[in-house]
């Protein structure tokens, strides 16, 4: 009965209840709406052996890998967007630091198709991809399927059905019905594909505010298990209409992450050293306030009849 009742809880409670050692987790969001607040709470709670799925591991998984949370990463592009490599990811893959990291690798479309298959509970998804690429050679989960009409062979990928999806949204009601705008990434498919869904919201609003614009609802409450209020929960990623991306931090991460000592120091100060995202936001202070979005409001539409 995921569909019913008030699901609001703290981040600590949501992570404690749904993210277990060894589980398969997806924190989605393509550049936009990446929930660092959830990742940091997972690090604080000391989760281990996670299979981390995301198109772009980004800083969010680089930090979790460095903190020793990850056993495996399922991904399609592992870089620091706009600023170079992901050093913790590279150390784990190239040299097994802090411990060996298993990888399972696709292209973006392959990951999107895996989530699409997962959301639709299909055992495979066909796509025109991977011919002539070595990706299929090194990943046995990329196979061929024969079209029953034309006889042609297409690539096929299996569904990805994580145990838990963490989806950051701009606003949600207490049942988990969530409005998202700006870049949508693959969040809808990742949420429908997962057994449990944690919605993390910049704002929790009245059910009536969601129902006033139902076409804006990306995630329906009936698939949601927990709703967490976490303003600034995406920093250094961003939330359209709330705050900008902290591009400076993405560049700084290059220096922070190039050696394990400085990275550990950073984790101590900014993850273990704060009890919650609220403390983190307070600690960031003016830097965060400077990222606040200007107003650029959409015009209304009429839902009357």
């Amino acid at each position: 009965m995921t569909g019913t009742g008030d699901k609001v809880m703290s981040m600590a409670e949501a992570i404690g209840r749904f993210v277990t050692d060894g589980c398969t987790l997806v924190i989605e969001g393509f550049t936009h709406l990446i929930c660092f607040a959830a990742a940091h709470e997972i690090i604080r709670q000391g989760r281990r052996d996670l299979t981390l799925c995301r198109l772009t591991p980004d800083l969010v998984y680089d930090q979790m890998i460095a903190a020793g949370c990850a056993r495996k990463v399922v991904f399609s592009w592992a870089g620091n967007p706009g600023a170079g490599p992901l050093y913790a990811f590279r150390r784990a893959v190239e040299r097994g630091i802090p411990h060996p990291l298993e990888i399972e690798e696709y292209s973006h479309y392959g990951m999107v198709a895996r989530f699409a298959a997962g959301a639709a509970r299909l055992p495979f998804y066909p796509l025109r991809d991977y011919q002539g690429s070595d990706l299929a050679r090194v990943n046995p989960r990329i196979r061929d399927v024969t079209c029953p009409f034309t006889g042609e062979r297409l690539a096929a990928v299996p569904p990805l059905n994580p145990d838990v999806a963490i989806i950051h949204v701009q606003r949600a009601d207490r049942l988990g019905n969530a409005h998202v705008w700006g870049l949508l990434g693959v969040q809808k498919e990742a949420a429908f594909a997962s057994d449990k869904v944690i919605i993390v919201a910049e704002e929790i609003v009245d059910e009536a505010a969601i129902r006033a614009d139902p076409n804006r609802t990306l995630i329906p409450g009936l698939i949601v298990d927990a709703v967490v209020l976490e303003p600034f929960g995406c920093h250094p990623s961003y939330a359209q209409g709330y705050y900008d991306r902290d591009n400076g931090f993405y560049v700084q991460w290059r220096d922070i992450s190039t050696d394990t000592a400085s990275l550990d120091t950073w984790l101590q100060e900014w993850v273990h050293g704060v009890a919650s995202r609220a403390e983190y936001a307070e600690k960031l202070g003016d830097r965060l306030q400077a990222l606040r979005a200007r107003e650029h409001l959409s015009p209304p539409v009429n839902y009357g009849y």
Binding site: T4, A119, I210, P214, T217, G221, Y305
Partner: protein
Amino acid sequence: MDYTANELMVCEAARQLRDGEVVFVGIGLPNLACNLARRRHAPNLVLIYESGAVGAVPERLPISIGDPALVTGCSSVCSMYDVFAHYLQGGLIDVGFLGGAQIDRHGNINTTVIGDYASPSVRLPGSGGACEIAILARKVVVIAPQSKRSFPARVDFVTSPGHVEGPGGRARLGMPGQGPVSVITNLACFGFRDGEMTLTSLHPGSSVEQVRANMGWEVAVVTDLAETAPPTPDELRLIRDELDPEHLYI
């Protein structure tokens, strides 16, 4: 208290729904049944219409499955791809309601043709979403008025599979849902035993003979045959005054 057969069918259908279930709703009696259940014992019932309206709270009785009143104030609108791939095939639908021109002893439903497909005597509307609801919803409730013609031993055309040829028929074909669990007619209620439609309760005033006279085969009867509970005054008030004040369906 007086009531119509349709009113009893609505009440009986409503009673089959549990709070918190996700229901794939059709227009007409199923819509009334779901909204009745929501007003009484199942306030957290989630209504999904195949048109893409999720969590609808219509302020007027919807006349079509795509009525604008289903959209205004609903919790989410999704594309029909989402409805069928994510909600239905995704396994999120607990109950689907179906009706049909013909229903047979295994709960197979025909909404396609009377007679031969290539040269039908009557061309019916076809499947719509019924075929996939029958296959994919966790369980299916059938609502249909009963007659010898509409309840044949075998339908002319299987649009929406029930228990196919009988016991294990669905499992052999790998269907995710458990298929029809009950049939509610103007005369009686039926369940399924080993994939075969079985009379479980008689509506007040109906007899086994009358039920059998309106079916194309000698239907099995449970040993503890019950009488269907009639609508309560409160149910009737809700249906007549609030849910269908213009009495379009009752």
